[in-house]
Amino acid sequence: MAEHAEHITCQEVVELVTDYLEGGLPAAEVSLFEQHILFCEGCRTYLEQMRLTVSTVGRLDTGDVPDQLRDRLLSAFRDWKRP
């Protein structure tokens, strides 16, 4: 894709961002990635957006168990308890 191996494009950065955040990039690619981020404001912003996305999803309330399901589970539990 890139003419030189020593260079990645913004379009490549957005596909590597999860591997980067997950610590799944080989060392050589980490330095290409970080070098790109250092000089590219757009990708720096994109990386920040991904971090904010993860933290926003992390604040979601998983919610209560649906009432109907909880009731079903409790009656199944009582049946189980009664030998």
Partner: protein
């Protein structure tokens, strides 16, 4: 030591051994506490293989029965939540196959070749700076301070997660909502490290895209 009226959901994971002991003794409060703690992840995992919320709830019910039956065999050394989700996956898989909705492989494959960001956001090949942004994404830190926590934002995120293919949904919910590690998700959902990361990448990228549309209108 929790009192009978304490909020069970707030118990530390260390208390699970205690809850399990109480459950083995037939304590209904302990069962309710475990149901409250694990059912959301169980529903997410079930939806990998079955089509509807109702079917997922059936799977979760069968899985809890499996948990109760298997309690005596459960080794406290292994992780309870991983064990529970594996039971869910086994039941949901069988059921999904019966429903002729055995999607796992295609659903695991989907997304690997989908772009995280629409290709028209980048400069085309052949011109100057191919593959570079046409215009930069917006800096969300310049938005009003509470933008990311507003109800409308939360709704947009939930809506997008609800639209994701089952496997992506299960992975983002376990990883980012429930806070599981990659290793835990791989073990519970029977995924390779690489597949788990692809699914997470697709899911997060799509949620980011939904947030961008939400903020940019």
């Amino acid at each position: 030591m929790p009192t009978p009226d304490s909020d069970h959901v707030m118990l530390a994971p260390d208390d699970e051994a205690l809850l399990l002991d109480r459950l083995r003794a037939g304590d209904e409060d302990a069962f309710e506490a475990l149901v409250a703690r694990h059912s959301s992840a169980m529903l997410a995992a079930a939806r990998m293989y079955v089509k509807t919320d109702a079917a997922a709830e059936d799977v979760v019910q069968d899985a809890w029965l499996g948990v109760l039956k298997g309690l005596a065999r459960f080794e406290a050394r292994s992780s309870l939540k991983t064990w529970i989700i594996r039971i869910v996956v086994n039941i949901a898989r069988t059921r999904g196959a019966r429903e002729a909705r055995s999607v796992p492989f295609s659903s695991l494959a989907t997304g690997a070749d989908e772009a995280a960001v629409a290709p028209d956001r980048f400069r085309p090949p052949g011109g100057a700076f191919p593959g570079h942004w046409n215009s930069y994404p917006r800096d969300w830190r310049s938005l009003p301070e509470d933008s990311l926590v507003q109800l409308e934002t939360t709704r947009a995120v939930l809506r997008e997660i609800g639209r994701l293919p089952g496997a992506q949904q299960a992975v983002i919910r376990l990883r980012d909502v429930e806070g599981w590690t990659a290793a835990e998700v791989c073990a519970a959902l029977d995924l390779t490290d690489g597949n788990q990361r692809v699914l997470l990448h697709r899911a997060r990228s799509r949620v980011r895209g939904a947030l961008e549309r939400h903020f940019d209108g």
